[in-house]
Every structure is written in structure tokens, then in C-alpha cells.
Symmetry: D2
Subunit: 263 residues, 4 copies
């Protein structure tokens, strides 16, 4: 039996599907719209069990999934969806030990997901030009317990990245085509390049730049998630769905090769 | 500059997009349809650079992505696609340090992906009833350098799993509804349950069983990947695409709670 | 120049995209939330022109599209979407002169669409068991000016259809599998059978019945409509979309052949 | 019982799903890869019945659906799919009696579909600049029995359309943005404009032109068709599907209004 421990990040989810993500700490209380839950009463309770607010309403005590965490993250910018992040991790081979660059940081969701995949031996460096965003990302990363795996940098990526030989680099900025040279210099030979863009116009602009760059193996893909109603007697897709989050663009950095002639 | 090293797993990809995945070893040669590449000539070359076969044909020397690895894996059963695996990792919170159960092993693709996400501190235990499949999975895991993170078990999951308190459990078997009790006993409280099923009939059967089980927060989703042609002057979706791989079913194990009454 | 005429069905659509469908008639006035429009002021105005309410708000005077008509139809049941109707017309070869059966009538949307496609020489016969629905359908068909092409019948299709040798027959009822024999007797040899069903469970049930019936060339399809934002500088899919309306099932009736042996 | 008649267009479909579309004529024989079928033996047979080739192979005798006809049409250009045509008919309100312009004719598939929807009282005028295409379209329309409802014109639409006050106009040409003025002059006030374009670049260009034109109510949509395997015990989507045919663009022509001021 796994019990909830002080310092642990937990999800409390009510019968009404309203959920809360808190880090357990003696003396703190969670105020919900359906009554109060004392952290001290939760610490030591088995994970997956039912707990009750002081008004008697029932909540499940669970470890949050990435889905839960990303929904809960405080954000001032576009959300990045688990469906996209999961695929980015696979396509860019981001895994334990990887060193990953990411810009702009935004609310830190992407940096957090990368950190969670590369820890404890890997490392994420995230660039952001807006100070208010960096402050928000710092709070979000601390809340998720991932701050130690992410270095936040307040710097214009137009001036280049300070790192070299990184495994993967993801540009989540509106005009990534301006930064391909900087990206190329930061990546190791064969390193993974990725970008997320909402409009076809941006993708066209980025492809145009990539076609003239030392990147190869370009791919553009969309990940579409279709949810179903979970009633066994009436199994069918949901009535409505998210139709678009962004186009994902992938490429591989080639080694700068002085004398090697074109075939 | 990162150079290719002996013992490293590399991807060689030709102008004709034919690709090879090999583990570099002095004295070994790669025989392609367009000439021979000696491993000794590749070791020490910068990753991301161009190399040539003895017939002068050009190949790129790259680290394989997960996409590449999964396509290359020798298999005797259904492939599991990166789009699905990436999403499963996110939804089931599989990350460095996680302990994950998986059945059946099949060709080992899912176990390999899990191993790659939980290493070096995590652990994957994979059950398979067919000896020939286990042998194939063992070879595939060794080829990918992931054997040490996976324990393969030749055992009928109808007899139960030998582990308890695991973080996540994924059933990739044709009739998962027979093994929900066994899954529940193996998972920690609140643990993540997942399954992949190709037909709506199977999903309906599994939902029926889950509705009567101590699992909660059921979700059924499909991940659909749409590829685009990467020509900036004519940006458009591919003409054809994979329409279906499988339905993904997720749930959370609840703690067995003796006396706790229903609300 | 085409001018709006008395008796014509027109669409008035405001700057706020709120729209009204009315049949022009001298002496009648349209009361909108942004002022009054006198029908007499509209009659004689060019179609496609701008007109103004007594408060000065601008409306476009247009012929309604099928899309507009279906959205405007008063309904007590599930809507049938233009994407589905258009495809049904193609797959079931419903065109000028066709004789089409349809059950249940519901609010009459499907019967109206069929009538509009088969007029003036074709004919639609629509069965409905609920009197209130028939009354609603009658009003809707009259409003659309299509009443003369549709015969509404208040009758249980379990007792059979009164027609034979019809070109096409569409079952928009929850349990179409009970009425395959009746459908077969009503259709001409080779006639087109269609059905619309929201859940996979229903499709499975219908397929099971069709597999044992004298219908052949079964097809099940879904029509998915993806809308885009129409801003040239930021071309991209809409954020959200309708994910599911129904599965479309098609089959062809085979001739009842007394002595003809199986191959 | 409906019997096949001389002069009728019929579909013959074998057990191997190979199909033939012929117009029945005494004295003509259909040569298949599985034997000969004499038209005289087919004339008088019930539609929907089974017939046999001289080698004993079985064929079904059916009326072709639109789907069948479009697949069978001889073409030198891009196919237009039933899923797209059906939706275009609905969105552009093309129905019995409509007068429809279409350019370029290509192999005539779109003109044929329009003719089939507007006959017997409506009319289709189709422009094409290539003589060889016109000849092909003429043959296809004659084969389908629709020639009398379509006027083919060998003329550059850059010089304008000769018609005015048409109900609907569809541009199936690579650069429709050059012909918006001509389209506007041909359409009645409020008339329906449509276009089909394969790439996002083209859609962006057309939207840019439409935004500066006297067209309004722009819409861009994609119709995606997902097929399912029709086995009741294993109901699931097909493995692969057509991912893209084209983007559909719709707009309404506004009346040219001399003095009417902008709101």
C-alpha cells in the first residue's frame, strides 16, 4: 500500500470532476467549493482512496498524470497539449539523460515536460525574452518539483544560444525561421530540431527557410485526438473535439562539413 | 563535435530513404544494396555527417529516433506506433524511475519504449505466454541496448502478476477484460491502467468489465496522425494516411477499501 | 438582376451573423433584435444586396443555402448535418425523379433534403409513428415549400411499407435491424439502402442483421467536416469542431431469386 | 420487379469486386477477365439479380451509384470525390432547376454531377481551355447520358463568362484568384461561389483575393471520409484512408450596389 506523504504532489478529484493539485504539507488546508480538506488528514492515507471534505463530499486522492499537471499549470500563453508533447518526446528522442534546449519558455509547460522526461541525469535549458513569463515559468516549475532540472535564461535567442552539442532543440516561438542558424550552432551533429506553429502561413515560411538550411529529413505532422464516450452500451465518439492545436515540424541538423562536396 | 563511437546504435540513411540501424563494431561491415560500409570507417566520424559506401553512394550517419527504432524492430505481431506510445507515456505518467508492468510482450516494442522512458532508475516487467515471442523480444531489447531494464516473464497472466505496487500496467492482449482483478492487485493505489485494442467490439467488452470493477476515471481515445508534404510552395496533407491503429483505454486503480461505504 | 419576389424564401443575415429565414409576403414584418424589416420593403430588392432595419442596422438579403435551411428547421430530434445528407444523396443516387422512402420522419429534415433533390418529378414517402413529430415535420416542409413532394404516413414500419419498387430507402430509427425484411420488400432489385446511427453498438447490431439478409455491398463510413479560419494571413483549422454526428451504413438490395442456386 | 432495359446504364460487379459500367445494347458483348456477358442476355433480367458469364462466373446486375460512376469515368486529371461533390451540392444549393457554371471542365466529372442534380429543368455550362479535355469530357457525359444538360465551351475564362445571373459557379482551376471579377459578373446577386484547391498556399492566395472582392460569407472546409471494416464481430476503421483531396472554399456574391454607402 502506497500512502500519501508530506511534500508529495497529489490530485484531489471530486464526484463533480472538479480537481485540485496540491503539494501536501502539514498545517495547510485545501479550500474547495464543497468543503475543506486538511493536508494533515490526507498525509498517510492510501493513494487511490476516497477522502471526504468537512462537509462530507467525497474526493479521490491520486497521483496526478501529465494530463492533469498540464491542465493545472498556470499559464499566460497557449497551452501545449499532452497529445503533442508525447509525440514530440518520441520524434525528438527526448529521454533520460538528454540535454534539451527550448525557446520561448512561456509558462514553462514544455520545459516541464522535457525536464520530467530527461531527469535525473539530463538537463533542460529554456530561453525567454519576457521577464514576466520567466517568473511565471519559475513558479510553475517549482510547483511541479522540476526546477532543479531546468535552467531558465532571460536572453534574446537572436543573439544565439550559449550551449552547443545539445541533443534536441524545440522552438515554440511565432517566427522560428529567423533562428535556424542559431539552432544549428547549438545542436550536435544529427541533433533533433522541432517546432510548433498554429498557422499554415507560418509552416510555409519555416519550410522555406529549412529548405535553404543545413537541416534535413523535414517532416510536418498534426496529432489529432479523438475522445469517446465511455458508456459500454453506447460507445461512440464525443460530440465535439479540439480540432487544432498546432502543426509539428521536425528536422535533423546535419554536421557542418568543410570540404565535403555535394553528391 | 560528437563522433560516432564503437558500441553506439546508429542510423544510416541513403538518398533513396532506405535506412539501416546497426551497432558499431570494429571489423563488421554493413552490406547495402548500394555498396558496403565498413564500421571502422564510421567510428570516429561526426554524427550528422555524410559517409559513402565503397560504390560512392552517400549515407547520412545519425542517431536513430524512436520512430526509426520502432520501424526497425523485428516483429511477429502488430506494430505499436510512436503516436500511440508517446501519448500512453503522457497519460500513464511513465517517466524516469517508474515501475511498469506490460503484457503481452509480443516483439517487445512497448516494453522497449517503456524501458527507454523509465531508465536508469526505473524498471519494466513484461509478461508473455509464447516462448517464441519472448525469444524475439529478448533479441530486440538486446539490439536496442535496453535488456538490463526489462525483466521478461514466461507466465500466464491469468495466474496473476508476481509484482505489487507498480506505478503503471498496460495490457496489450486481445481480451484484457479477463485480467482486471490481476491488474488491480498488481497496481499501487491510484496506479495507471492502460490498454490498446483494435476493434470497437473489444472496447465495448472492456468498458463493460471496467464499469463493474474498482477502476475509475475511464477514458477512451484515438490518436490520429496526419502527415503533410514538406514542400513550402505546395503545403498540403499527404494523399493517404494510416486511418487506425487502435483505441487507447485508460483508467485509474482505486485503493481496495474494506469498510468504506459508497457515497 | 434577380429581385426578391413575394412568396420567395429568403435569408436575412446581419453583421453579427444572426440570421432569419422568412417567406416574403406583403404586409408581414420581421422583428429582429436590431430593428424591424417590412417584407414589402424587401420585395423587389436585388438578391445579394444590403437592406436596413428601421434602426439602421444592415442585413444581407440572400437565398438560403441548404446549410442555412437545415440550421433553421424547427426540430424536436437530432439534427442531420449537410455533410451527411450530401454524402447520402451521392451514395444512394438520389436525384431528380427518384422515389425515396424514409423513416422515421422526425422533424422532416431528411425528407426535405430528399424532396429537394428528387423534385419536381420524383417523390418522397416518409413514415413516422409519433403524431407530434408528423405535425412538426408538416409545418417544416410547408415552410420550405416542399410539402407537395412528400407524403407523410402515420404508421408503424414494423407493419411494412405500403410501397414497392422504390429506388432508395433510408432508416433513421434507433433499431433499424428490426426492419430489414420490410425494407427489402419495399426496394426495387438493386435498390439503395441507407441508415444513420450514432453508436458503434448499433452499427454492430445492424451489421449482424445485414450479414444474414439479402442485402449486399455493405459499407460503413463517417463524414468528418473540418472548418478553417478564413483569414488569409493566418490560415488554420478552427480550434474546435463537431467530432461525431453518426455512422452512415449503406447496402444494396438484391433481387429475391426463387430457384437461383448459390455459386 | 424492375427489369434491365436496352439503353440503360448498368453496373456489373463480380465476386472479386471488379466492376464494369455499360449501356445495354442488343448485339453488344462485355468481355471480362472472367468470361463474356452478352447484353441481350442481360436485357430483361431483374435488376439486383445474379447473372453469369459464359465461363460460369457470377456478376451482380445493378444500377450504378454516383460513387460507381465517378470511379468509372475516364479521366486525364484529378478525380473529384463523391464526399466533396455531395457537400458542394448542399453548400451551393445546386438542385433541380439550378443554372450552374463550372470551369475547367477537365474530364467532366464535376459537370456531370451538377447535371445529374439540376436535370431535367436546370442547365450546366462548363468552360475548358484545352481541346483534348473537352473531347474527353464530351465522351464521358455522353457515356453517362447527361450530354443534353451540359453546354461545353472552349474558351478562356480570363475573357469572362458569357452567362449572367447564374445560380452557382464553381472554379476548379489552379489559380481561381485571377477570375473573381468574371465570376462576380456571371453570378446573380447572392449567387453561390465555390472552389476546390489542393494546397494551403492556393487557399491563402484565394482568401487574399476574396477579402478584397465583393464576395462575402467566406468559408473553407475539408470533408474527410473514414471508412470502416464491415464485419460485425470486429467493427473498426479501415487501416488506411484517403487523407486529403482538397480544400473547399465557399462564398456568396454580393449585388453590385452603386450608391449604397458602407455601414
Amino acid at each position: 500500500m502506497t500512502a500519501a506523504q508530506e511534500g508529495q504532489l497529489v490530485l484531489l478529484i471530486g464526484k463533480d470532476r472538479k480537481s485540485f493539485i496540491v503539494r501536501l504539507q502539514h498545517g495547510v488546508r485545501l479550500q474547495t467549493h464543497r468543503g475543506i480538506l486538511e493536508h494533515s488528514d490526507l498525509i498517510g492515507r492510501p493513494m487511490g482512496s476516497r477522502v471526504r471534505s468537512h462537509l462530507g463530499h467525497q474526493y479521490y486522492l491520486l497521483a496526478p498524470s501529465w494530463d492533469d499537471l498540464l491542465r493545472a499549470i498556470r499559464r499566460a500563453s497557449q497551452i501545449v497539449y499532452p497529445k503533442d508533447i508525447g509525440y514530440i518526446l518520441m520524434k525528438m528522442s527526448i529521454r533520460p539523460g538528454s540535454v534539451v534546449l527550448d525557446a520561448g519558455t512561456g509558462s514553462g509547460a514544455l520545459a516541464a515536460a522535457f525536464a520530467s522526461a530527461v531527469m535525473p541525469t539530463g538537463w533542460v535549458i529554456s530561453y525567454e525574452i519576457r521577464e514576466d513569463m520567466l517568473a511565471l515559468a519559475r513558479r510553475n516549475l517549482a510547483h511541479l518539483g522540476l526546477a532543479e532540472y531546468v535552467t531558465l535564461k532571460h536572453r534574446d535567442i537572436g543573439d544565439g544560444f550559449e550551449e552547443t552539442e545539445v541533443d534536441a532543440l524545440c522552438l515554440d516561438v511565432p517566427a522560428p525561421w529567423y533562428y535556424l542558424e542559431q539552432a544549428q550552432r547549438a545542436l550536435r551533429g544529427g541533433g533533433f530540431f522541432g517546432s510548433i506553429l498554429p498557422t499554415a502561413n507560418q509552416v510555409i515560411e519555416l519550410l522555406r527557410a529549412l529548405e535553404r538550411s543545413p537541416f534535413a529529413f523535414l517532416e510536418v505532422e498534426e496529432v489529432i485526438l479523438r475522445g469517446y464516450k465511455v458508456v459500454s452500451a453506447r460507445f461512440r465518439p464525443m460530440d465535439r473535439m479540439v480540432a487544432h492545436t498546432g502543426y509539428l515540424i521536425f528536422a535533423r541538423a546535419l554536421a557542418a562539413e568543410g570540404s565535403d562536396e555535394e553528391e
